[in-house]
Amino acid sequence: MTRFIRRYAAFARIAIAQARRERAELYGRAAFFVVILGVFSSLWRAAADAGLPVAAEPRSLVWYLAATEWIVLSAPPIHLDIQEAIRRGDVVYQLGRPVSYVIAEFASALGLLAFRAPLLGLAAFLCAYAFTGWIPPLGALAIVVPFGLAAAALLTALFLWTGLLAFWLQDVSPVYWLGQKLMFILGGLMLPLTVYPEIVRRIAALTPFPVVLGEPASFLLKDAMVTPGALVRNLAIWCCMTALALGWIFRRARVALTINGG
């Protein structure tokens, strides 16, 4: 077991070292916080002026968005690397290594996540504070941070699953974009799910998206969507289902590759 962990921890360490050298994307993502929180603080003010009931507390909504965006932006877009490796045929060389391709990619992505999450978290905190002039109760922040990290790891695994679809689709961007937009709505990226019609909330409950975004971030609102205990249970369920889905799709991809060639 220790050998297993050590082996894949090496992938994570290499990814961290690379991320340290290539910080441009991270700065870009931090700049995105400034933009998106600026846009939405303005949007929520406008919505409050227009009488949107939920916008009675625009500052809570800005912090909610800061938390959901922190989770989304911290998860590395690993599907792009996997897609490129498959398109170029490089994946064939990686499959020959004496390690699991999927676990190695996931370990690298977790390394990136470990590097990005603290810096982006700081950017989110500072931007949200700058736009609202208010800080939520520290107890709520203390709950959001660990759940946010776990949710970002689950999201990374979902990106990995999306990337593996490139074995069949060549370009997984549309699947990624669709997943991202579903996450916007069914996860409650911009608006808490409580604002959406009942039917949307029911559909959302059948997907992992609320567990990834809305539920962890809702601790920053007056009424949280779930209790911490329920969120632990939901995260565990979706982590298991994602692991099973990853194993299944990778087995099918290997078969397809063996039959069709790289």
Partner: protein, 264 residues
């Protein structure tokens, strides 16, 4: 020097070849088109939910947002379908992939832009057209104005892409950062203009021209006038000229990748 008509014929041939290439993988093509269109409609659910609760947002109604969405989606779709290479320009420059194009008797920039086509762009084009039709703010009489607005917006998208990704000539590996700046342009252009004021509004008509990509085309569609048309076409021409200038300057600094490869 090649005549402009030759250049246009060349660009047309590139697009035709790309479309044929995309259609060769028909299943993947259809999937990408459908998924992209679904993606755009899914994103719009946010506005649908919000505007059900507030009918106007600083003077903007749901129909105005549909026109904005439609124009930006169709313009982006047109840009990545015809000039899909723009998204890869940073990597071409950084990894020395322009080598093969430099030996061709055609404009390197036109070749680099037209060498790839994004099939999902058709999904953007289709969903853009549906958003515009759905808004109820466009008639057959104003259709030419809508088409002109979409084309101008697409040209600015391409010009901005060239500008941002050409930074690779000076800064090296900037693809993801340039891509993010390009996506910021899209992000800003999808929100109603009255949300932004002061310095941000100034930035949105200069360094990050979401104003030219989304707001001005919408104004042109709402109130067709020579002034709006002149400002929009002037803006498109200026950004295109700047993009060509910056790319040409950068090309002088370009370092070969010493690659022996075929392109396509």
């Amino acid at each position: 020097m090649a005549a402009p008509s030759n250049g246009l014929a060349f660009a047309r041939a590139l697009v035709a070849t790309n479309v044929k290439g995309a259609l060769a993988l028909r299943g993947a093509f259809v999937l990408q088109v459908v998924f992209m269109a679904l993606n755009n409609f899914t994103f719009f659910v946010f506005w649908w939910v919000l505007m059900r609760r507030v009918t106007t947002l600083r003077g903007w109604q749901i129909g105005d947002i549909q026109v904005l969405f439609g124009i930006v989606a169709a313009a982006f779709g047109l840009a990545v379908t015809v000039a899909g290479g723009v998204r890869h320009l940073g990597r071409f420059i950084d990894e020395g992939d322009l080598d093969t194009l430099l030996t061709q008797p055609r404009s390197v920039l036109v070749y680099a832009l037209g060498i790839r086509s994004q099939p999902s762009g058709f999904g953007d084009l289709i969903s853009g057209a549906i958003f515009i039709a759905w808004s109820g703010q466009v008639s057959w009489r104003t259709l030419p104005v809508v088409v002109a607005a979409v084309v101008a917006s697409a040209l600015i998208f391409v010009a901005c892409g060239v500008l941002f990704f050409s930074l690779a000539f000076w800064l090296g590996k900037v693809e993801s950062a340039a891509r993010q700046i390009w996506e910021l342009l899209i992000t800003f252009s999808l929100y109603p203009e009255p949300l932004f004021g002061g310095l941000i509004r100034l930035a949105l008509f200069t360094v990050l021209p979401a104003g030219f990509v989304g707001y001005l085309p919408v104004r042109l569609v709402h109130e067709p006038s020579l002034l709006h048309a002149a400002v929009l076409s002037g803006g498109a021409a200026a950004y295109l000229a700047l993009a060509v200038l910056v790319f040409d300057r950068g090309l002088r600094r370009y370092a070969s990748g010493s690659r022996f490869s075929t392109f396509g």
